[in-house]
Point group: C2
Chain length 139, copies 2
């Protein structure tokens, strides 16, 4: 039988779309090394974050509950893998900023970036390139 975690009514609990700070750190490792264990993640992050194993594990368990990670059990081992792509996560993150700080308007945000975050010459030419390509794609 369908063992639904939360409630009956087909109503799916709104799962968070965005990652917290700690979750980002963890996801990055998972994306790179999946499938991997909590231990691996903890070790990989050791130099950056002084997190105890249990901290990482607890967080990852919660992320699994939220739908960000999937757990595969092998013997007494839990292998985690991502259930959201890096692209989706990035998109969500950017959208949040876009909404919050720029009322959802993309161009003003780009403009802000260009004007306030010094572009190097290379950056600029690279950008020009990208814009070119993007426009050429749809005439």
């Amino acid at each position: 039988m369908t063992k639904s975690k939360k409630a009956g009514k087909g109503r799916r609990a709104k799962l968070p779309e965005e990652l917290t700070e700690a979750e980002w750190a963890i996801m990055k490792v998972v994306w790179e090394q999946e499938p991997c264990t909590a231990g691996t993640v903890q070790e990989t992050l050791a130099d950056t974050r002084a997190w105890a194993y249990s901290t990482v594990k607890t967080t990852m368990d919660r992320m699994a509950e939220k739908g960000f990670l999937a757990i595969e059990k092998i013997r007494n081992l839990q292998l985690f893998r991502a259930r959201i792509s890096e692209v989706d996560a990035k998109r969500a993150e950017l959208r949040k900023t876009l909404k919050r700080a720029f009322d959802g308007a993309l161009t003003p945000m780009m403009q802000f970036l260009i004007e306030h975050e010094g572009l190097s010459a290379e950056d600029a030419s690279h950008l020009r390139e990208l814009v070119e390509r993007a426009t050429r794609k749809k005439p």
Copy 2:
């Protein structure tokens, strides 16, 4: 006697640099109408957020503690005004995203935006314009 809230040692608590969701909503109003009262903010936001006056007030008081807002007292009135500029807030917000999702690399973020958030033809030409101008400024 000096009734210091926190601690003795001139050690200033690291004040947060970033705004939360609710704080963004409030700041936007303040930036537009400052100086203004909590009541004004509450009313202005009424159609968007069903917040009780005290919710807004409490949040704004906390924002003042954090250094985001300044309070000027006139009679029994409190006038709030921003202590961080919109530009700074935007910058902080973008930097956070930049760090989190793109390891601090600007160009990849721009690239992502260009490639994943459909640019209209106008957007593109506008962008080209901006990039042009930005490069011309520093040869």
